[in-house]
Amino acid sequence: MRIDKDLVAASATPLVLGILADGDLYGYAILKRVSELSGGGMQWTDGMLYPLLHRLERLGYVSSLWGTSDAGRRRKHYTITPAGRDALADRQEQWTVVADALRQVWQTTQGPAAATEGWA
Protein backbone atom coordinates (compact mmCIF):
# COMPACT_ATOMS: atom_id res chain seq x y z
CA MET A 1 0.00 0.00 0.00
CA ARG A 2 1.29 3.44 -0.92
CA ILE A 3 0.78 6.11 1.72
CA ASP A 4 -0.34 9.47 0.48
CA LYS A 5 2.47 12.05 0.10
CA ASP A 6 0.83 14.65 2.33
CA LEU A 7 0.33 12.10 5.06
CA VAL A 8 3.98 11.12 4.89
CA ALA A 9 5.03 14.76 5.06
CA ALA A 10 2.76 15.49 8.02
CA SER A 11 3.99 12.51 10.01
CA ALA A 12 7.68 12.97 9.18
CA THR A 13 8.58 15.34 12.02
CA PRO A 14 6.94 13.38 14.87
CA LEU A 15 8.32 10.14 13.45
CA VAL A 16 11.89 11.40 13.29
CA LEU A 17 11.68 13.02 16.71
CA GLY A 18 10.10 9.90 18.17
CA ILE A 19 12.80 7.67 16.71
CA LEU A 20 15.53 9.96 18.01
CA ALA A 21 13.88 9.99 21.44
CA ASP A 22 14.88 6.33 21.65
CA GLY A 23 18.54 7.17 21.09
CA ASP A 24 21.01 8.98 18.83
CA LEU A 25 21.06 7.88 15.20
CA TYR A 26 22.42 8.91 11.83
CA GLY A 27 20.36 9.54 8.72
CA TYR A 28 20.40 6.13 7.10
CA ALA A 29 19.59 4.39 10.37
CA ILE A 30 16.62 6.70 10.91
CA LEU A 31 15.21 5.76 7.52
CA LYS A 32 15.72 2.08 8.18
CA ARG A 33 13.85 2.47 11.44
CA VAL A 34 10.96 4.24 9.68
CA SER A 35 10.79 1.41 7.20
CA GLU A 36 10.80 -1.21 9.97
CA LEU A 37 8.16 0.59 12.01
CA SER A 38 5.78 0.88 9.08
CA GLY A 39 6.45 -2.63 7.85
CA GLY A 40 7.91 -1.14 4.68
CA GLY A 41 4.69 0.81 4.05
CA MET A 42 6.24 4.24 4.38
CA GLN A 43 8.81 4.78 1.69
CA TRP A 44 10.47 8.14 1.96
CA THR A 45 12.54 9.67 -0.74
CA ASP A 46 15.81 9.18 1.08
CA GLY A 47 17.30 12.54 0.13
CA MET A 48 14.39 14.46 1.65
CA LEU A 49 15.29 13.30 5.14
CA TYR A 50 18.34 15.56 5.33
CA PRO A 51 16.70 18.93 4.69
CA LEU A 52 14.12 17.87 7.29
CA LEU A 53 16.85 17.03 9.82
CA HIS A 54 18.53 20.37 9.14
CA ARG A 55 15.26 22.18 9.66
CA LEU A 56 14.71 20.40 12.97
CA GLU A 57 18.25 21.38 13.92
CA ARG A 58 17.63 25.02 13.07
CA LEU A 59 14.48 24.94 15.18
CA GLY A 60 16.57 23.54 18.02
CA TYR A 61 14.71 20.22 18.21
CA VAL A 62 17.77 18.13 17.44
CA SER A 63 21.50 18.70 17.64
CA SER A 64 24.10 17.04 15.49
CA LEU A 65 27.65 15.85 15.89
CA TRP A 66 30.08 14.60 13.29
CA GLY A 67 31.62 11.25 14.11
CA THR A 68 33.10 8.40 12.14
CA SER A 69 31.46 5.21 10.95
CA ASP A 70 32.94 1.73 11.38
CA ALA A 71 34.34 2.05 7.88
CA GLY A 72 36.06 5.31 8.85
CA ARG A 73 33.76 7.68 6.93
CA ARG A 74 32.51 10.98 8.29
CA ARG A 75 29.04 10.44 9.68
CA LYS A 76 26.63 12.92 11.24
CA HIS A 77 24.74 11.74 14.31
CA TYR A 78 21.58 13.41 15.50
CA THR A 79 20.41 13.77 19.11
CA ILE A 80 17.05 15.03 20.31
CA THR A 81 17.17 18.13 22.54
CA PRO A 82 14.87 18.98 25.47
CA ALA A 83 13.05 21.39 23.14
CA GLY A 84 12.67 18.53 20.69
CA ARG A 85 11.15 16.37 23.41
CA ASP A 86 8.67 19.12 24.20
CA ALA A 87 7.79 19.41 20.52
CA LEU A 88 7.39 15.66 20.32
CA ALA A 89 5.04 15.62 23.31
CA ASP A 90 3.05 18.39 21.69
CA ARG A 91 2.84 16.56 18.37
CA GLN A 92 1.92 13.37 20.17
CA GLU A 93 -1.08 15.06 21.75
CA GLN A 94 -2.17 16.44 18.40
CA TRP A 95 -1.87 13.07 16.72
CA THR A 96 -3.76 11.37 19.53
CA VAL A 97 -6.66 13.73 18.98
CA VAL A 98 -6.57 13.14 15.23
CA ALA A 99 -6.29 9.38 15.61
CA ASP A 100 -9.15 9.34 18.13
CA ALA A 101 -11.37 11.33 15.84
CA LEU A 102 -10.52 9.11 12.90
CA ARG A 103 -11.19 5.94 14.89
CA GLN A 104 -14.65 7.18 15.78
CA VAL A 105 -15.32 8.06 12.18
CA TRP A 106 -14.23 4.59 11.05
CA GLN A 107 -16.54 3.05 13.64
CA THR A 108 -19.59 5.03 12.62
CA THR A 109 -18.98 4.31 8.94
CA GLN A 110 -18.52 0.63 9.66
CA GLY A 111 -21.03 -0.17 7.01
CA PRO A 112 -20.51 -1.42 3.50
CA ALA A 113 -17.94 1.35 2.81
CA ALA A 114 -15.56 0.09 5.49
CA ALA A 115 -14.94 -3.10 3.65
CA THR A 116 -13.57 -1.32 0.61
CA GLU A 117 -11.47 1.08 2.68
CA GLY A 118 -8.27 -0.59 3.65
CA TRP A 119 -7.72 1.50 6.75
CA ALA A 120 -7.03 -0.14 10.06
Binding site: Y26, G27, Y28, L31, T45, D46, G47, M48, Y50, P51, L52, H54, R55, E57, R58, L59, G60, S63, W66, S69, A71, R73, R74, R75, K76, A83
Partner: protein, 449 residues
Protein backbone atom coordinates in the same frame (compact mmCIF):
# COMPACT_ATOMS: atom_id res chain seq x y z
CA UNK B 1 38.97 -0.69 -2.32
CA UNK B 2 40.41 -1.89 -5.59
CA UNK B 3 37.83 -4.63 -6.22
CA UNK B 4 35.15 -1.94 -6.42
CA UNK B 5 37.09 0.53 -8.54
CA UNK B 6 34.18 1.06 -10.90
CA UNK B 7 31.77 1.70 -8.02
CA UNK B 8 34.20 4.17 -6.44
CA UNK B 9 34.49 6.01 -9.76
CA UNK B 10 30.70 6.14 -10.02
CA UNK B 11 30.35 7.54 -6.51
CA UNK B 12 33.07 10.07 -7.27
CA UNK B 13 31.19 11.22 -10.37
CA UNK B 14 27.94 11.43 -8.39
CA UNK B 15 29.71 13.56 -5.74
CA UNK B 16 31.01 15.92 -8.38
CA UNK B 17 27.54 16.24 -9.82
CA UNK B 18 25.88 16.94 -6.47
CA UNK B 19 28.59 19.38 -5.43
CA UNK B 20 27.82 21.64 -8.35
CA UNK B 21 24.57 22.37 -6.58
CA UNK B 22 25.01 25.48 -4.50
CA UNK B 23 22.25 24.73 -2.04
CA UNK B 24 24.03 21.58 -0.91
CA UNK B 25 27.18 22.35 1.06
CA UNK B 26 30.23 20.03 1.00
CA UNK B 27 29.42 18.68 4.45
CA UNK B 28 25.87 17.92 3.28
CA UNK B 29 27.38 15.99 0.38
CA UNK B 30 29.47 14.01 2.89
CA UNK B 31 26.30 13.21 4.77
CA UNK B 32 24.49 12.13 1.59
CA UNK B 33 27.49 10.08 0.49
CA UNK B 34 27.54 8.23 3.79
CA UNK B 35 23.88 7.50 3.23
CA UNK B 36 24.49 6.33 -0.33
CA UNK B 37 27.29 3.99 0.71
CA UNK B 38 25.23 2.47 3.52
CA UNK B 39 22.38 1.86 1.10
CA UNK B 40 24.78 0.31 -1.45
CA UNK B 41 26.29 -1.94 1.21
CA UNK B 42 22.83 -3.12 2.26
CA UNK B 43 21.86 -3.84 -1.35
CA UNK B 44 25.10 -5.73 -1.91
CA UNK B 45 24.34 -7.82 1.15
CA UNK B 46 21.09 -8.92 -0.51
CA UNK B 47 23.04 -10.15 -3.50
CA UNK B 48 23.01 -7.24 -5.96
CA UNK B 49 26.23 -6.44 -7.79
CA UNK B 50 27.96 -3.06 -7.56
CA UNK B 51 26.24 -1.55 -10.56
CA UNK B 52 22.74 -2.61 -9.52
CA UNK B 53 23.29 -1.60 -5.92
CA UNK B 54 24.48 1.85 -6.99
CA UNK B 55 21.48 2.35 -9.25
CA UNK B 56 19.00 1.32 -6.58
CA UNK B 57 20.69 3.56 -4.01
CA UNK B 58 20.64 6.56 -6.37
CA UNK B 59 17.01 5.92 -7.18
CA UNK B 60 16.08 5.74 -3.50
CA UNK B 61 17.89 9.00 -2.83
CA UNK B 62 15.36 10.66 -5.08
CA UNK B 63 15.31 13.22 -7.86
CA UNK B 64 18.32 15.43 -7.21
CA UNK B 65 16.54 18.57 -8.40
CA UNK B 66 13.69 18.02 -5.98
CA UNK B 67 16.08 17.21 -3.15
CA UNK B 68 18.23 20.26 -3.81
CA UNK B 69 15.10 22.40 -3.92
CA UNK B 70 14.28 21.11 -0.44
CA UNK B 71 17.82 21.95 0.68
CA UNK B 72 17.47 25.39 -0.87
CA UNK B 73 14.22 26.00 0.96
CA UNK B 74 15.92 25.18 4.24
CA UNK B 75 19.21 26.97 3.55
CA UNK B 76 18.14 30.06 1.64
CA UNK B 77 21.12 31.93 3.06
CA UNK B 78 23.44 29.77 0.98
CA UNK B 79 21.44 30.53 -2.08
CA UNK B 80 20.55 34.12 -1.81
CA UNK B 81 23.35 35.16 -4.09
CA UNK B 82 22.12 32.71 -6.64
CA UNK B 83 18.49 33.64 -6.27
CA UNK B 84 19.12 37.23 -7.19
CA UNK B 85 21.43 36.40 -10.07
CA UNK B 86 19.04 33.96 -11.65
CA UNK B 87 15.47 34.68 -10.56
CA UNK B 88 13.38 31.62 -9.76
CA UNK B 89 11.81 30.04 -12.77
CA UNK B 90 12.95 30.45 -16.34
CA UNK B 91 11.55 33.93 -16.85
CA UNK B 92 14.95 35.59 -16.61
CA UNK B 93 15.47 35.41 -20.35
CA UNK B 94 14.00 38.84 -20.95
CA UNK B 95 16.00 40.45 -18.13
CA UNK B 96 19.42 40.28 -19.70
CA UNK B 97 22.36 41.72 -17.72
CA UNK B 98 22.58 44.61 -20.18
CA UNK B 99 18.99 45.52 -19.74
CA UNK B 100 19.40 45.49 -15.99
CA UNK B 101 22.48 47.67 -16.23
CA UNK B 102 20.56 50.14 -18.38
CA UNK B 103 17.73 50.25 -15.84
CA UNK B 104 20.19 50.75 -12.99
CA UNK B 105 22.04 53.56 -14.75
CA UNK B 106 18.80 55.27 -15.70
CA UNK B 107 17.62 55.11 -12.09
CA UNK B 108 20.99 56.36 -10.83
CA UNK B 109 20.85 59.34 -13.17
CA UNK B 110 17.22 59.84 -12.19
CA UNK B 111 18.19 60.01 -8.52
CA UNK B 112 20.88 62.55 -9.43
CA UNK B 113 18.43 64.68 -11.41
CA UNK B 114 15.94 64.54 -8.53
CA UNK B 115 18.53 65.70 -6.02
CA UNK B 116 19.77 68.42 -8.36
CA UNK B 117 16.24 69.62 -9.03
CA UNK B 118 15.49 69.44 -5.33
CA UNK B 119 18.47 71.62 -4.46
CA UNK B 120 17.25 74.20 -6.97
CA UNK B 121 13.64 74.00 -5.77
CA UNK B 122 14.14 74.16 -2.00
CA UNK B 123 15.77 77.47 -1.31
CA UNK B 124 16.35 76.81 2.36
CA UNK B 125 18.84 74.18 3.45
CA UNK B 126 16.68 72.70 6.21
CA UNK B 127 13.84 71.93 3.80
CA UNK B 128 16.28 70.29 1.39
CA UNK B 129 17.68 68.17 4.21
CA UNK B 130 14.20 67.00 5.18
CA UNK B 131 13.48 66.06 1.58
CA UNK B 132 16.77 64.47 0.58
CA UNK B 133 15.66 60.96 1.47
CA UNK B 134 12.34 61.47 -0.29
CA UNK B 135 14.19 62.46 -3.46
CA UNK B 136 16.44 59.39 -3.58
CA UNK B 137 14.12 56.73 -2.16
CA UNK B 138 11.77 56.36 -5.18
CA UNK B 139 14.64 55.37 -7.44
CA UNK B 140 16.06 52.76 -5.09
CA UNK B 141 12.58 51.39 -4.42
CA UNK B 142 11.81 51.42 -8.14
CA UNK B 143 14.86 49.26 -8.78
CA UNK B 144 13.66 46.60 -6.35
CA UNK B 145 10.08 46.95 -7.50
CA UNK B 146 11.27 46.23 -11.03
CA UNK B 147 13.66 43.50 -9.97
CA UNK B 148 11.19 41.67 -7.71
CA UNK B 149 8.18 42.36 -9.92
CA UNK B 150 6.16 43.44 -6.95
CA UNK B 151 2.39 43.30 -7.03
CA UNK B 152 0.10 46.31 -7.09
CA UNK B 153 -0.80 45.79 -3.44
CA UNK B 154 2.85 45.90 -2.41
CA UNK B 155 3.44 48.95 -4.58
CA UNK B 156 0.54 50.65 -2.80
CA UNK B 157 2.02 49.86 0.61
CA UNK B 158 5.18 51.59 -0.60
CA UNK B 159 3.56 54.60 -2.20
CA UNK B 160 0.98 55.45 0.46
CA UNK B 161 3.42 55.80 3.41
CA UNK B 162 5.87 57.57 1.11
CA UNK B 163 3.25 60.11 0.09
CA UNK B 164 2.11 60.55 3.69
CA UNK B 165 5.69 61.14 4.77
CA UNK B 166 6.23 63.64 1.97
CA UNK B 167 3.09 65.52 2.99
CA UNK B 168 4.09 65.62 6.66
CA UNK B 169 7.63 66.74 5.96
CA UNK B 170 6.57 69.53 3.63
CA UNK B 171 3.24 70.81 4.95
CA UNK B 172 4.13 70.97 8.64
CA UNK B 173 5.00 74.60 9.49
CA UNK B 174 8.41 73.80 10.98
CA UNK B 175 10.02 76.75 12.75
CA UNK B 176 13.24 77.82 11.02
CA UNK B 177 16.23 76.17 12.74
CA UNK B 178 13.78 74.41 15.09
CA UNK B 179 14.59 71.08 16.64
CA UNK B 180 11.42 69.23 15.51
CA UNK B 181 12.31 69.92 11.88
CA UNK B 182 15.81 68.64 12.48
CA UNK B 183 14.48 65.54 14.25
CA UNK B 184 12.10 64.87 11.38
CA UNK B 185 14.98 65.17 8.90
CA UNK B 186 17.02 62.69 10.96
CA UNK B 187 14.24 60.16 11.45
CA UNK B 188 12.65 60.22 7.98
CA UNK B 189 15.51 58.16 6.43
CA UNK B 190 14.83 55.36 8.94
CA UNK B 191 11.23 55.09 7.73
CA UNK B 192 12.34 55.28 4.11
CA UNK B 193 14.96 52.63 4.68
CA UNK B 194 12.41 50.22 6.12
CA UNK B 195 10.16 50.96 3.14
CA UNK B 196 13.13 50.13 0.91
CA UNK B 197 13.33 46.87 2.84
CA UNK B 198 9.69 46.23 2.01
CA UNK B 199 10.53 46.63 -1.67
CA UNK B 200 13.67 44.54 -1.23
CA UNK B 201 11.78 41.57 0.18
CA UNK B 202 9.17 41.96 -2.54
CA UNK B 203 6.42 42.48 0.01
CA UNK B 204 7.20 39.29 1.95
CA UNK B 205 7.97 41.26 5.08
CA UNK B 206 6.54 38.67 7.42
CA UNK B 207 9.31 36.23 6.64
CA UNK B 208 12.14 36.36 9.19
CA UNK B 209 14.54 34.96 6.66
CA UNK B 210 13.80 37.64 4.12
CA UNK B 211 14.18 40.29 6.82
CA UNK B 212 17.57 38.84 7.64
CA UNK B 213 18.44 38.96 3.95
CA UNK B 214 17.62 42.65 4.03
CA UNK B 215 19.88 43.16 7.04
CA UNK B 216 22.64 41.36 5.17
CA UNK B 217 21.91 43.49 2.13
CA UNK B 218 22.17 46.67 4.22
CA UNK B 219 25.57 45.64 5.52
CA UNK B 220 26.91 44.74 2.09
CA UNK B 221 25.49 47.96 0.68
CA UNK B 222 27.45 49.93 3.27
CA UNK B 223 30.61 48.05 2.27
CA UNK B 224 30.06 48.63 -1.44
CA UNK B 225 29.05 52.24 -1.00
CA UNK B 226 32.18 52.91 1.03
CA UNK B 227 34.33 51.30 -1.65
CA UNK B 228 32.66 53.37 -4.37
CA UNK B 229 32.99 56.54 -2.29
CA UNK B 230 36.68 55.92 -1.67
CA UNK B 231 37.37 55.30 -5.34
CA UNK B 232 35.32 58.34 -6.30
CA UNK B 233 37.12 60.52 -3.77
CA UNK B 234 40.52 59.51 -5.14
CA UNK B 235 39.41 60.26 -8.70
CA UNK B 236 37.93 63.62 -7.75
CA UNK B 237 40.99 64.63 -5.74
CA UNK B 238 43.30 63.79 -8.64
CA UNK B 239 41.12 65.65 -11.15
CA UNK B 240 40.86 68.64 -8.86
CA UNK B 241 44.61 68.80 -8.31
CA UNK B 242 45.43 68.37 -11.99
CA UNK B 243 42.97 71.01 -13.17
CA UNK B 244 44.17 73.42 -10.52
CA UNK B 245 47.70 72.85 -11.78
CA UNK B 246 46.56 73.84 -15.26
CA UNK B 247 44.75 76.83 -13.83
CA UNK B 248 41.11 75.75 -14.16
CA UNK B 249 38.88 76.05 -11.10
CA UNK B 250 36.95 72.80 -10.95
CA UNK B 251 35.41 73.43 -7.52
CA UNK B 252 32.08 74.96 -8.69
CA UNK B 253 31.47 72.18 -11.22
CA UNK B 254 32.27 69.63 -8.56
CA UNK B 255 29.88 71.09 -6.03
CA UNK B 256 27.08 71.91 -8.45
CA UNK B 257 27.16 68.94 -10.78
CA UNK B 258 29.45 66.08 -9.86
CA UNK B 259 28.51 65.54 -6.22
CA UNK B 260 24.69 65.94 -6.55
CA UNK B 261 24.75 63.23 -9.20
CA UNK B 262 27.48 60.98 -7.87
CA UNK B 263 26.37 60.68 -4.24
CA UNK B 264 22.75 59.51 -4.79
CA UNK B 265 23.64 57.69 -8.01
CA UNK B 266 26.30 55.65 -6.25
CA UNK B 267 23.65 54.42 -3.79
CA UNK B 268 21.56 52.91 -6.59
CA UNK B 269 24.64 51.46 -8.26
CA UNK B 270 25.85 50.00 -4.96
CA UNK B 271 22.45 48.37 -4.43
CA UNK B 272 22.73 46.79 -7.86
CA UNK B 273 26.28 45.63 -7.18
CA UNK B 274 25.21 43.95 -3.96
CA UNK B 275 22.48 42.17 -5.89
CA UNK B 276 24.65 41.13 -8.81
CA UNK B 277 28.07 40.55 -7.34
CA UNK B 278 27.04 39.13 -4.03
CA UNK B 279 29.73 36.49 -3.89
CA UNK B 280 32.61 38.94 -3.85
CA UNK B 281 31.66 40.54 -0.58
CA UNK B 282 30.09 37.50 0.95
CA UNK B 283 33.51 36.16 1.83
CA UNK B 284 34.53 39.47 3.37
CA UNK B 285 31.45 39.98 5.53
CA UNK B 286 32.29 37.44 8.27
CA UNK B 287 35.90 38.63 8.26
CA UNK B 288 34.86 42.27 8.64
CA UNK B 289 32.53 41.50 11.53
CA UNK B 290 35.20 39.41 13.20
CA UNK B 291 37.73 42.21 12.92
CA UNK B 292 35.43 44.98 14.07
CA UNK B 293 33.56 43.25 16.88
CA UNK B 294 36.59 43.00 19.22
CA UNK B 295 37.71 46.49 18.20
CA UNK B 296 34.29 47.89 18.99
CA UNK B 297 34.23 46.14 22.35
CA UNK B 298 37.58 47.76 23.12
CA UNK B 299 36.27 51.16 22.02
CA UNK B 300 33.16 50.88 24.20
CA UNK B 301 35.25 49.86 27.21
CA UNK B 302 37.55 52.85 26.73
CA UNK B 303 34.51 55.12 26.43
CA UNK B 304 33.05 53.69 29.61
CA UNK B 305 36.31 54.15 31.49
CA UNK B 306 36.61 57.76 30.31
CA UNK B 307 32.98 58.50 31.17
CA UNK B 308 33.42 56.99 34.61
CA UNK B 309 36.57 58.96 35.40
CA UNK B 310 35.18 62.20 33.96
CA UNK B 311 32.87 62.47 36.96
CA UNK B 312 29.19 63.32 37.16
CA UNK B 313 27.00 62.12 34.35
CA UNK B 314 24.93 65.28 34.50
CA UNK B 315 27.84 67.19 33.04
CA UNK B 316 27.84 65.11 29.87
CA UNK B 317 26.85 67.69 27.35
CA UNK B 318 24.35 67.25 24.63
CA UNK B 319 26.78 66.94 21.73
CA UNK B 320 28.47 64.09 23.54
CA UNK B 321 25.10 62.42 24.06
CA UNK B 322 24.34 62.66 20.36
CA UNK B 323 27.73 61.16 19.55
CA UNK B 324 27.17 58.33 22.00
CA UNK B 325 23.78 57.68 20.45
CA UNK B 326 25.40 57.46 17.03
CA UNK B 327 27.96 55.01 18.40
CA UNK B 328 25.25 52.83 19.91
CA UNK B 329 23.31 52.76 16.65
CA UNK B 330 26.51 51.80 14.86
CA UNK B 331 27.17 49.03 17.39
CA UNK B 332 23.67 47.74 16.80
CA UNK B 333 24.23 47.72 13.04
CA UNK B 334 27.46 45.78 13.53
CA UNK B 335 25.66 43.31 15.77
CA UNK B 336 22.87 42.81 13.25
CA UNK B 337 25.29 42.45 10.38
CA UNK B 338 27.44 39.90 12.17
CA UNK B 339 24.36 37.91 13.12
CA UNK B 340 23.23 37.93 9.51
CA UNK B 341 26.68 36.81 8.33
CA UNK B 342 26.85 33.91 10.77
CA UNK B 343 26.17 30.31 9.82
CA UNK B 344 23.03 29.62 11.87
CA UNK B 345 23.91 25.95 12.32
CA UNK B 346 27.43 26.44 13.68
CA UNK B 347 27.75 25.59 17.37
CA UNK B 348 28.36 28.44 19.84
CA UNK B 349 31.98 29.54 19.82
CA UNK B 350 34.41 32.16 21.01
CA UNK B 351 33.06 34.73 18.60
CA UNK B 352 29.57 34.39 20.03
CA UNK B 353 30.98 35.07 23.48
CA UNK B 354 32.69 38.14 22.04
CA UNK B 355 29.39 39.25 20.57
CA UNK B 356 27.79 38.91 23.98
CA UNK B 357 30.60 41.06 25.40
CA UNK B 358 29.78 43.65 22.75
CA UNK B 359 26.12 43.63 23.71
CA UNK B 360 26.93 43.95 27.40
CA UNK B 361 29.38 46.81 26.79
CA UNK B 362 26.75 48.57 24.68
CA UNK B 363 24.21 48.01 27.45
CA UNK B 364 26.56 49.63 29.94
CA UNK B 365 27.03 52.65 27.69
CA UNK B 366 23.29 52.83 27.17
CA UNK B 367 22.69 52.72 30.93
CA UNK B 368 25.17 55.57 31.44
CA UNK B 369 23.43 57.58 28.74
CA UNK B 370 19.98 56.97 30.15
CA UNK B 371 21.15 58.12 33.57
CA UNK B 372 22.67 61.25 32.05
CA UNK B 373 19.55 61.95 30.04
CA UNK B 374 17.18 61.52 32.94
CA UNK B 375 19.42 63.82 34.97
CA UNK B 376 19.35 66.42 32.20
CA UNK B 377 15.59 66.17 31.86
CA UNK B 378 15.18 66.53 35.63
CA UNK B 379 17.39 69.59 35.60
CA UNK B 380 16.45 71.39 32.39
CA UNK B 381 12.97 70.01 31.66
CA UNK B 382 11.61 68.43 28.50
CA UNK B 383 12.49 69.27 24.95
CA UNK B 384 11.76 67.44 21.69
CA UNK B 385 15.44 66.53 21.35
CA UNK B 386 15.61 65.03 24.81
CA UNK B 387 12.43 63.00 24.41
CA UNK B 388 13.53 61.71 21.00
CA UNK B 389 16.89 60.68 22.39
CA UNK B 390 15.31 59.16 25.48
CA UNK B 391 12.91 57.14 23.35
CA UNK B 392 15.68 55.86 21.13
CA UNK B 393 17.76 54.87 24.13
CA UNK B 394 14.89 53.03 25.74
CA UNK B 395 14.30 51.13 22.49
CA UNK B 396 17.99 50.27 22.36
CA UNK B 397 17.91 49.19 25.99
CA UNK B 398 15.07 46.72 25.41
CA UNK B 399 16.68 45.48 22.20
CA UNK B 400 20.08 44.92 23.82
CA UNK B 401 18.75 43.42 27.05
CA UNK B 402 16.77 40.77 25.24
CA UNK B 403 19.65 40.17 22.80
CA UNK B 404 22.01 39.61 25.74
CA UNK B 405 19.53 37.26 27.39
CA UNK B 406 19.12 35.21 24.21
CA UNK B 407 22.87 35.19 23.55
CA UNK B 408 23.46 33.73 27.02
CA UNK B 409 20.85 31.06 26.29
CA UNK B 410 22.51 30.26 22.98
CA UNK B 411 25.99 30.07 24.49
CA UNK B 412 24.70 27.66 27.13
CA UNK B 413 23.16 25.53 24.43
CA UNK B 414 19.62 26.07 25.68
CA UNK B 415 18.43 28.03 22.65
CA UNK B 416 19.01 27.61 18.92
CA UNK B 417 20.67 30.46 17.07
CA UNK B 418 17.38 30.99 15.25
CA UNK B 419 15.94 32.42 18.48
CA UNK B 420 18.69 35.06 18.52
CA UNK B 421 18.05 35.87 14.88
CA UNK B 422 14.30 36.00 15.28
CA UNK B 423 14.47 38.55 18.08
CA UNK B 424 16.59 40.83 15.91
CA UNK B 425 14.39 40.62 12.84
CA UNK B 426 11.15 40.93 14.80
CA UNK B 427 12.37 44.02 16.64
CA UNK B 428 13.38 45.98 13.56
CA UNK B 429 9.93 47.41 12.69
CA UNK B 430 9.72 48.99 16.15
CA UNK B 431 12.44 51.44 15.15
CA UNK B 432 10.35 52.35 12.13
CA UNK B 433 7.32 52.92 14.35
CA UNK B 434 9.33 55.15 16.69
CA UNK B 435 10.78 57.12 13.77
CA UNK B 436 7.24 57.61 12.48
CA UNK B 437 6.18 58.95 15.86
CA UNK B 438 9.10 61.39 15.88
CA UNK B 439 8.39 62.59 12.35
CA UNK B 440 4.59 62.72 12.45
CA UNK B 441 3.55 63.19 16.09
CA UNK B 442 6.39 65.22 17.60
CA UNK B 443 6.09 68.40 15.51
CA UNK B 444 2.41 69.12 16.30
CA UNK B 445 2.82 68.06 19.95
CA UNK B 446 5.77 70.37 20.49
CA UNK B 447 4.34 73.19 18.40
CA UNK B 448 6.76 72.83 15.48
CA UNK B 449 9.57 74.50 17.43
Amino acid sequence: MTPHAELEAQIERWRGYVQRNRAISPSDVDELEDHLREQIADRQATGLDDEEAFLVAIKRLGNLDAVSREFAREHSDRLWKQLVLVPAGSDDANASPWRELAVVLALAVGAGVAVKAGSAWFDDGAALMRNLGLLVFPFLAAYFAWKRRITGAVAATLIVPFAALAVALNLYPFAPAGSTGMLAALHAPVILWLLTGLAYVGGRWRSDKRRMDFVRFTGELAVYYTLLALGGAVLIALTLATLRGIGVDFQPVLEDWVLPFAVPGALVVAAWLVEAKQQVVENIAPVLTRVFTPLTVAMLLVLLAVLATAGGFVDIDRNLLILLDAILVLVLCLLLYSISARDPLAPPGLFDALQLALVIAALAVDAVMLTAMLARIAEFGYSPNKIAALGLNLLLLVHLLRAAWLAVGFLRGRLPFAAVERWQTRYLPIYGAWATVVVVVFPPVFGFI
